[in-house]
């Protein structure tokens, strides 16, 4: 993940380095072309040298009188028009009413395309594959974490039906979104070369529909889970001990924990923070060009000096609408890869990795001995509550 992020930031820094280089170079004499590019510029570009891209920015024909007999272009020449289009100064009208319809040029597409099909897919796949491999190795070394003591046969209610509903809404939608997201991302690079265009088309259309529409279930469930469990996931002093003992994974005995141990709290906050970030960037993608997140964010990072402190230089704060979408797509995918890796570990420990854990989300009732071993403080709370007469049981005055 860190390398992926570094690569993304590296790409950004190239852009700024290129600008810096072009600014430092002595300006050659371009008076013969009115400030536009010269033959030397063209030859330099062909040699692969960096050439300033703002040549002739102002030479867009505005100073030429519109002579009637030069119709249809009047005094404006084709190069003037293309230059104006390139620099975003042309008066463009479009027949469609999309927010980005009049942006005919944007030059941030190629590095995005290269990054998307290169490092993003490569490191994303390595992250998921590596996580699965690690879990496999962990299983082979540690095996299934068994209930140490004798089972009592008594059950304690751990999650109510509505809590389990919220959890399955979140997990079901996340798995669907993860799979369809991978199909969308891997289409051109993996699925088309392997299975052909026809197969991908049959897969891509329903994947897009599912990804776009199931996203709402994920967002609703994210809010549900946050509201239901945030109280139990606030930090507690027992978390420090739990973390210091590594959750007791490699040792005998279990560190005491409340309803959620520190590991579960980390999962919870990962889901909330990363899930929210994925949701927001997903909304930006779901309503194209309506929600622009990155120009403003880069502007803030620049003004707070964070980008400078990280050695990234000035980040591009003025982005074409399409560049906003490109950054949103990359961010959406990168954060999703991280959350998928975390959730793979969560699924493992909740099913195969630990005896008795699945019941919490299956039936909602867990074996008392399991609860005592893994959540001793929570069991004490439940027992104390059971002994205390509830208010409703108190006779009315």
């Amino acid at each position: 993940m860190l390398r992926t992020l570094t690569a993304l930031l590296l790409c950004l820094s190239f852009v700024t380095i290129a600008h810096a280089q072009s600014a430092d170079a002595p300006a050659p004499d371009r008076s013969a072309t009115g400030g536009a590019q010269t033959l030397d510029d063209i030859l330099a570009r062909q040699r692969g040298e960096v050439v300033a891209d703002d040549l002739g920015t102002g030479a867009t024909g505005d100073d030429v009188p519109n002579v009637g007999h030069l119709q249809p272009l009047g005094g404006a020449s084709d190069p003037d028009l293309w230059r104006a289009l390139k620099h975003g100064t042309a008066d463009v009208t479009a027949s469609n009413n999309g927010p980005a319809a009049t942006t005919l040029f944007q030059d941030g597409g190629m590095w995005w395309l290269e990054f998307r099909k290169g490092p993003l897919i490569t490191y994303g796949s390595l992250l998921l594959g590596g996580t699965i491999l690690l879990l496999l190795v962990f299983y082979l070394i540690r095996g299934r974490i068994r209930i140490d003591g004798t089972k009592t046969g008594r059950k304690i209610e751990r999650f109510k039906a509505v809590e389990r509903f919220g959890h399955w809404l979140l997990s079901g939608s996340f798995i669907l979104l993860g799979l369809t997201g991978l199909v969308t991302l891997m289409g051109r690079k993996v699925i088309i070369p392997t299975f052909g265009h026809e197969a991908f088309a049959a897969l891509a259309a329903p994947s897009k529909w599912i990804h776009n529409n199931v996203s709402w279930a994920f967002m609703i469930a994210l809010v549900m889970v946050f509201v239901m469990w945030v109280y139990h996931n606030l930090p507690h002093r027992s978390d420090i001990n739990w973390l210091l003992k590594g959750g007791g994974i490699f040792s005998k005995g279990h560190p005491p924990a409340k309803k959620f141990n520190a590991g579960q709290k980390l999962i919870f906050w990962s889901v909330i923070v990363l899930g929210t970030s994925i949701s927001v960037s997903g909304l930006a993608l779901l309503f194209p060009f309506e929600i622009n997140l990155f120009g403003a964010t880069f502007d803030k990072l620049n003004s707070w000096g964070i980008s400078g402190a990280m050695g990234l230089g000035e980040l591009p704060a003025t982005l074409a609408p399409h560049e906003e979408m490109q950054y949103a797509q990359l961010w959406h995918a990168i954060v999703s890869f991280v959350l998928m890796a975390i959730i793979l570990a969560h699924i493992y420990i909740g099913t195969l990795g630990m005896e008795g854990a699945y019941d919490a989300m299956g039936s909602g009732e867990v074996e008392e001995q399991w609860a005592r071993e893994h959540h001793s403080l929570w069991v004490e709370e439940v027992e104390a509550k059971a002994k205390t007469p509830t208010e409703s049981a108190t006779p009315a005055e």
Binding site: L169, G172, W216, I220, F287, G364
Partner: protein, 42 residues
């Protein structure tokens, strides 16, 4: 198990419902990204 089945059903209902609502509310790509002089249907 009941909660899981109910949630999976809810996912289908929410997905179909949101698709219907967004299309009806004029949020389809066609509605948002084209004008009267763009013909996509015929």
């Amino acid at each position: 198990m009941k909660a899981m089945l109910a949630a999976l059903t809810a996912i289908v209902v929410i997905a179909v419902g949101s698709n219907l609502i967004l299309n009806e509310a004029g949020f389809s790509s066609q509605d948002r990204g084209s004008g009267p002089s763009v013909r996509l249907d015929d």
